[in-house]
Structure formats: structure tokens, C-alpha cells
């Protein structure tokens, strides 16, 4: 028997949405809410807002990218966002069936007035870790962020 449950992270919420930009807000608001519920326990008041905003923004970026890079041949494509956590770290994975992409990203050269390409760069800056895997035609972008616990002297 193979063990089935993730050893170090408990799944919290799994959200599956149609790959359509109209639903990006659902994804990011959910991320914000999940982050808020999680962070309420883990961090102090001042950091909760920042933690939630980081998740709201990152999921907004990741979902938008997922929709943008979807192949037009698959109109009923779905994107799944999976949140999981351990005591101090929240993780979110965005799973889609888009073509493979290279998740390493540089900051776009701002002086050339780029209209896009900030998405993954923002996620890298807002999150602690970002990893990308591809298996059996499925992309998974996983991000984690630790809720900082402030020790007041």
C-alpha cells in the first residue's frame, strides 16, 4: 500500500475554475481569504494584511498567466488551485494542462515600457519559494510563503 496523504502539508482548499479571465478575481479573493484564515493564527496583526496581499497578488498573476497561455484548441480547459499548509507555511499550487513553459524569470526592463511579463517576477518577489514541475502533460507551479511570527520583546 502506498501512502496517499501528503506527509508534511495538509490540504485546505482546492478550487477548480474554467480557464477564463472573468474568474481571476474568484481565484485571488479565495487566495486572500485562505491566507487570512491561515495567517490569523500564525502572524501578528501588522503582517496579516501583507501576507494576504502577497497571496492575492500572486494567485492573480498565476491564474492570469495560466489563462493567457492556454491553447485555444481547448476551450473548456480548467485550472485548479490547491492550497495546503503546515504549522507556519502556506503553499498554493496552480495546476493546468498548458504547454510547457520556463518558470525562470528576470525582471522585465522597465525602461522599455513593457506591458506584460511582470507576473512570474512578482510571484518570485512576493513568495519565499516558487517551483515548477511538469508531469504527464500537466504543469504545476507551486509557491510557498512562511507567515512571519513577530517576537515582541
Amino acid at each position: 500500500m502506498k501512502k496517499q496523504i501528503i506527509l508534511f502539508m495538509n490540504p485546505i482548499v482546492t478550487l477548480t475554475l474554467q480557464a477564463d479571465l472573468r474568474y481571476v478575481r474568484i481565484a485571488s479573493v479565495t487566495a486572500c481569504n485562505v491566507a487570512e484564515i491561515f495567517a490569523d493564527v500564525a502572524c501578528t496583526a501588522g503582517n496579516v494584511a501583507e501576507f494576504c496581499h502577497a497571496y492575492e497578488l500572486s494567485i492573480s498573476e498565476a491564474f492570469t498567466n495560466s489563462v493567457r497561455y492556454a491553447e485555444p484548441s481547448q476551450p473548456e480547459k480548467q485550472i485548479t488551485i490547491r492550497f495546503s499548509s503546515d504549522n507556519s507555511t502556506l503553499a498554493a499550487s496552480i495546476i493546468d494542462t498548458n504547454p510547457q513553459f520556463n518558470p525562470l524569470t528576470q525582471a522585465p526592463d522597465i525602461n522599455s515600457y513593457p506591458e506584460g511579463g511582470y507576473g512570474l517576477f512578482l510571484i518570485h518577489r512576493l513568495m519565499d519559494t516558487v517551483s515548477y514541475t511538469r508531469k504527464d502533460g500537466t504543469n504545476m507551479l507551486t509557491m510557498t510563503k512562511r507567515a512571519t511570527i513577530m517576537h515582541n520583546a
Partner: protein, 460 residues
Amino acid sequence: MKTLIVIKKQEYEWLLDLFPGVHPLLLPICNKPFIEFFVDFSIFTGSNAIRIVSDGPLRDVERYCENGSRWGVEISYGSMLPADELHSVIDKNRRFCQEERVVIISGFLFIHYDKKSDYASLFASLPSGELFSCGRGSISLTGTPVVETNTTTGASPFSLTALDSVGKYYRLSMDILKNGLTRYVLPGYSSESDCYIGRNVVIPKSAEIKKPVIIGNNVQILSNSVIDKNSVIGSNVIIDRESVISGSIVMDNTYIGEHLEVKDKIAAGNLLIDPESGTTIVMEDPHLLTSMAQSKVAGTLLRRVVHALAATLLIILQFLPWFLLRPILGIQGNWKRDKGQYHTGLPGKAFTMTKTTIGNNGPLCAIAKALSLDRFPLLFRVLSGKLLLIGSQPVLINPATRVIPNSMSGYRPGVFSYAEAEDWPEIGIDTEIVEHYYAVHGNPLKDIAMTQKALFNRTH
């Protein structure tokens, strides 16, 4: 009263090369970040709100100062463009600047002040306009005087120094240390004058410390070292034994090796800067001056050594069974070898590896599998440093897809993989999270335990 601090990137760019990774506004001047001198001065002028405006990044400054509640003032941040003149900066911050008088500090400059002077009533009574300038910066004031006074200010109670060279930075620090310690608000424990010592500072009996001196937090001074007078030691610093520091600034996170004499210099990480000529020497020898932040390298080295030792042990244990079973399995055709190009931990680099698979026929195969003999040839790659004993599953290079393992995910190929240790299905998305988790949170001892686990789990 409010204070508007306007700093252009161009004014401090020279510091970015010298002290990389430190925002110039957070550069310590006598154990206190530069920006705090501005904050203190603003408070002395009676300001209850401060806005810091720059055309460069302020993220680190914001992270340090936050909203200013630590000082009981309201700190906000604004941006400007490099070409903006002072009046357009004031326009851009009009809402901040209206209603109250505003002290405008423009330029990367140090304000010499004295905490005993009454700046609040002075600034309330001064007429608006430019008050002081020093060529590269100025202090001006807007609004009408609140109190009309006719006190003729004789000697001005403060002066300005533009920080535009490392020599000026050094002389300023030394000047504060020698003459100005009582004028500014400095943190640290001070049982006697001219001597400020931070928290968690270890000083052995044999070490000698002469004042004036400032020492930060978490500092270790080893035996027979001398901190001669006029020295500023930052935080997280180690002065190794029998070294002499005099008239020098040792920046945060710096290790000063043993038997060294640092005189009239600035030591920062692995740089030794001569403030008069501005020349810097990069210390090649890691034993002389190395940043403690590089301990990661030592960590990897330790990991390698532990892995190599454990691999040697496994080689000794597996040798006899391998020696007996390998020829039989080979004849039976149950010892299949597959040569392939695999990713190394470094982007763009590859290595060749032969992967062995054992067939599924008969008890001999079962024994060989149980003993993980298929991995035996790979153990030697651990000794040569190509593989870790336990790490990520080696990823085959597929020229068709050209996927690059993300350097962020901590991919390091190993003979065994963490996923195996946790009995994770070898394919599947979660495998890489497991590997990533241990790559980040692992340590050599844990690795040994995980290898045992992998050896055990593979038999089932």
C-alpha cells in the same frame, strides 16, 4: 511641523559598489543606520510626520522604518523622477506639505546636530526659504513662522556634510566617535562615557578594549585581541584571536581572521577599504576576511563529506553481495543498464550516468533488489562529488522539451531520492514537493536517516 526627506539615487550610487546589498540609507554610522539620524533630527524639529521621497528603491528602508510607530512619528514614502527639481517634488507631495510647516531636507547629507539644543522652537520661528546648503544638499522650510521671535541665532546649532566619498564617511564616523557621542542618540549599553557596547558581546579576559569604542550586537572577540581606540565594530562580527583593530570600522557580518592588524581601514565582508585613497582590496584568502553570510558554502561542504562517508560505508557493505550476484544476474539478463545524460544541480550542465534496473525473475533478483544493488555502481559517483547520496531523482535531459529544473527548487541529483525514502510514487506531482521540502529543510544527519529509510522502503 513635518519633514520631507528627498534623496536621489545618483547621490548615493557610489556606495552601492562598496557595500552591496545594503541600502545607503541603512548604512550604519557608528552602529546606527543613517536614516535614523534623519528621523531623530526630524523629531527634534518637532515633526510628527516624515515622508521619505526617492527616485530609487525604498523597499528596504520601508521594511526597516515601517510606519514610524517605533519613534512615535508617522513615516510615509513617495517616489519621484531623477530629473525632478525640488519644487516639483514639493508639488508631488502637496497633500503632505499643506497645512503645516515642512522642513525639507534634500540630498544625501549628514546633519550635525546636538540633541541638547531646542530645534523645535528654532524651526518654528525661522522664516521660510532655504536655511542651509552645502553645495550638494540643503535644508529649507516652508510656511510662515508660528512664533515671531527676534532671537538672533549666533552660531548655527547644526551643520551639514554631504556624504559623497568613502573618505567623508570614514571621517564622519570617526568625528562622531571622538567628539560627538553625546550629541546624538546612540543605542547600546554605556556604563561609562565614550564606550557603547551592544547586546550579546563576548569579551574574554585576555582581550583589551580601549575607548572611545562602539561595539554592536552579537560580537565575539577572541583571546588576546586588541580593540584599540577609535574603533567601530558592527553587529554579528567575530574578531579572531590576536588581531588588532585600531581606528577602523568593521561593518556588520564581518569576520576578522587571526593575527591581523587592521589600522585606519573599513572592513566589510571580504573587502578592506582604505578610506583615504578609496582603494579596496578583495581578500582572496577566506581565512583573512570572510562574510559570515557565506556559511552556506560550509554547509554544503559538510553535507558532501557526510554523504561521501556514508557512501563509503554502503560500498563496503554492498561489495560482497554485488560481487557474488552481479555476474549471475548479468548472465541471466536481469541486469539491464541504460546510459543517459542527466541534469546536474547547475543550470545548463549535464553529466552522463548509467542507470541499472534489475529484472523480475526469481529469488536472486529479489535479493539484489532488496539490497539495492542496482544503486551500487552509482555510489562511486558520490565519492567523486557528482551525486549526493540522497537528493532529488536525477532528471534525464530531454532535448525535445529542454525543461530546465528550476534553480529555486533546490534540485540536486542523488543516488537515492527523498521521494523514495518517503515511499512516494516515483512519478507524480507531489514527488517534487517532497524533494524540494527536504532539499530546503534537510541537514546531513537527517540525510543519513532518510537514506536508511530509502534502503528499507525500497525492499517493499
